[in-house]
Symmetry: C2
């Protein structure tokens, strides 16, 4: 299949640009944002060669972006990493990156609690402990929200 | 004041290292994570020179990390940017970075909705629209959670 014979249409390119611009301030390199957008658009398993051809980037760049996205569970890999035959698809487990984030809130909250108790100067302990309470309460609330949204999504299917 | 005469204690250094390690996978460069941790620990306004001396990094590195954190509203600046007299402190508006994130979820959800309606191939439209619904519902739920936690924090003060 001559995959390079199917370049993105203008409206597809616009979508890819918009997603990449939106995610750039969140630490997504431009190529990462573009690969994410392309996989959103396709909603199917595609090869690294296909990603590279569609977006006009190098194979190494496409592979590195896909791997970054895989690490954060935004995309799934089918096949061995680095293999010519490996395919990537956007993950349909929407909640997974969010769960990672609530985990971070929990770990941060616990570190701040311990710092307030053992390490911080007396005048810093109270605001640190208050921030820890906020983070831990927000984590609980977000987990509840993700559960509820997941539940509704499952019911709607 | 000879600020370099007050190096961090071992337990303070450990806290700084732990916070930096925790935040590294989230796109915080090591110096950014360390400056964030130091400002958490201090809970007061400090100069760029003081940050640099305490963490053993360059003034330019400390300033660039502080600016990154300021952009995401994790820290507040007091005084002109780049000025020798500018002071930085951890922001006490905990919710602000979270609000930025719910805003992102909303913008991403709306882009996916539009893509599903106008751009995506027929077989991609349904999963894209479903993902958009998840993002928008999660944004609402998170906003509600942040409001509730903020409200409790205010009442407890």
């Amino acid at each position: 299949m001559d995959i390079s014979s199917e370049p993105l249409r203008d409206d597809e390119n616009r979508f890819v640009d918009e997603i990449a611009a939106l995610l750039a301030p969140w630490g997504f390199a431009p190529s990462v944002g573009r690969v994410y957008a392309y996989l959103l658009l396709r909603q199917t398993r595609v090869s690294v060669d296909e990603i590279a051809a569609a977006l006009g980037i190098s194979r190494a760049g496409a592979w590195s972006a896909a791997r970054f996205l895989e690490n954060f569970e935004h995309v799934r890999r089918f096949g061995s990493v680095g293999s010519k035959r490996a395919l990537y698809a956007i993950s349909d487990n929407y909640a997974s990156p969010m769960r990672e984030q609530t985990k971070l809130l929990g770990e941060l909250g616990r570190l701040l609690q311990a710092c307030a108790a053992d390490t911080a100067a007396p005048e810093a302990a109270a605001p640190l402990a208050e921030r820890a309470r906020f983070l831990l309460a927000l984590r609980e609330a977000m987990n509840t929200a993700i559960d509820a949204v997941n539940e509704r999504t499952r019911e709607a299917v």
